[in-house]
Amino acid sequence: MKKGTTVFVVSLVLVVSFVGLGIVVPQQLDKLSAALHGAIIEHFGWAYLLAAFGFVVFSLFLAFSKYGRIKLGRDNEKPQYSYFSWFSMLFAAGMGIGLIFWGVSEPLSHFANPPKYIQSGSGTAAGFAMVRSFFHWGIQPWAIYIVMSLSIAYFSFRRGMAPLISNTFYPLLGDRVFGGIGRMIDVLAVFATVFGIVTSLGLGALQINGGLNAVFGVPTTDTVTFIIIAVVTVLYMISSMTGLDTGIQILSKTNVLVAILLLAFVFVVGPTSYILNVFTTTIGEYVSQFVNLSLSTNPFEGYEWTKSWTLFYWAWWISWSPFVGLFVASISRGRTIREFISGALLVPTLLTFLWFAVFGATGLDLQLNHGVDLAAAAVSDVTTVLFDMFSYLPLGNVLSLIAVLLLSVFFVTSADSATFVLGMMTSNGDLNPPMSKKLTWGILQSVAAMILLMSGGLEALQRMAIVAALPFTFVMVCMVFSLLKALRYEWKYELRGRRSADRR
């Protein structure tokens, strides 16, 4: 059986089986996933922190090293997408929907429920909440994505191999990447991607429902959520038919523009000076505490908090990395390693910080200075707190409507990219995956999200995605060595010879 077919069949059977378990025996799946997830976070949390910090160091090293000049493509190749298109697609795939979801609710949740050594609702808790929000959505997630996407882009565009995660291990495994080990890596990647995207779709649909409820009073019921998923499915299937160059690109650019406008509007009508104070202070705290934050699991006090937030996030970013990595790789052809890393590390991070500063600080201002208890709302229902906050700003309903629109479009671009990536992964890295496979994955992820929302198995599935992150962390550490080996080889045996020939 061909590699693509094997990966497609095996991962399809695996995914359908797990989704089936989530429908038939949701409680048992919940128990199993909770036990696995709990054990992994408890015993291997430190490994996630170390690995993520290592990826930051590795990314910086590559960007500043001699390898930074190597192009992700042929030497004379030009970047396929403009900077704005590239950043927009990076941002839409990597963060988009999550930022809208957590922009207000995460700082407020930390403010209301910080670790035990910080007094809940205090100024210290507010500072802690902002720094942690920056930390969870800052450099580390992008370094994780960079390791994955850079490896895939290098081995596919520079070395001419199919864009598959397994192929990035050629320097370590040789021809074995085309055999069983390679297939196993690709199946694991499909597994993590499907479960991640199904969870994201389910939670995203719930938030859109919350927004529609806030703006139009649409009831928050399963039926409405299903209709939302169905409509979004139709939209992303249409977008997916048009391919990368039109569908995803246009939607991502539009969405980033709308997001920047929304950000600017809230910044202007919100507590502007307060936002700038919070932004400046938090950046300072983040930079000065970076190493401490990166490597501290808080084993003496506050470990439970670290487990349920930081370690959860790190595992989540890693489980999400095959999808984002493959997608980001596919849009980064023609850029140098230095350009790729500096762009992917700085621009989305800066936009994320601005987002959290504007939305988080506005929420905290209402909470601390205007007596609006948004934190309680964030604790009780994270999906609606953004709309609660908008109701206290001028043109609140319009803002809510724009947010719903943003959510929907980010939802469509995420699902569209996921469909594209899953199609690619299960058709031996074909950059134009067959429509049949895109349709299969597209419909499967939406149906799974609907059914699991109903049966209550969505969280269990999210935990299974995180369980897949542990082997993937190991895979990514090996990927770092593999990429380094390849770059060293290229520099030593290919580029050096070419440069001395040029000099002659």
């Binding site: 081995f155 070395r159 050629y170 290919e494």
Partner: protein, 273 residues
Amino acid sequence: MLKRVLIPLNLHESRDRLKEMGGFLKTLGTDEAVLLHVGADTRSAGEHHRRKLALAAEWIGALGVTVETALRPGSVQMEIVHAAEDRGVDYISFAFRRKNWLKRAILGSTVKDVIRQSDIPVFVHKQATRRAEADGIYRVLYPTSLQWKNDVIIEYIRSKEFKPDEVVFLYVGRRAPDPVVEQQRRDEVAAQLEETLRQSGLTESEGRQISVLGSPRRQIVKIARRLPADVVLLGKADTTSGMGPVLGSTAEEVSYNAPCSVLIIPRDLGGKV
């Protein structure tokens, strides 16, 4: 080529051990030896050392080798290197004795230190070397980097004293980043090994090539064990990789871990041969 040797002794070597090594060195064309002990030259200790040196000289002289002795105080590895220069020897030969890891970690290894500092060839003789065995093939393993000229080492291979029955040319490389370039790399390595074999003037039955992937320091030892080889003939470059100062050079590691004797030829020896 390997006519005059400096043999550093710690004076704990047994007669059999010295005779075995001396016999082997004689087959390499060595007929003059300087026996050196680096140790205290006080009246009582010096007398004791001189007596033991004389005894060792007697054992080796019995093999038909002209022997001189020398006793020097000071740093062992520095004195060995200086004595080799002062006495104008062609190479230094050690009767190798393995230290356990603890001793090695605390005391270090004189053999490794001398290999690092010496500009003349160093021979590390190990007891398993079987040149005299009638039923075995005398096999030399030559790991080549294919990067610097093989001339110096080929001169040893072609010399009538060295005369191995078989020379195995070994190349340990790194896998290329993709299958197409990897195939090109394999073809190039095969062609270059073929060329090295041709330059050596050996017939097809006298020489063969092996190309493997991995770390040179590990693969050379592994292949020497698998063949089995009687002598590893190794070129030494003084440039090391980034981890060189921590891990030591390939020559130092192979000389210590190889299951057979190792002759290390410095890269800059060209003019001196």
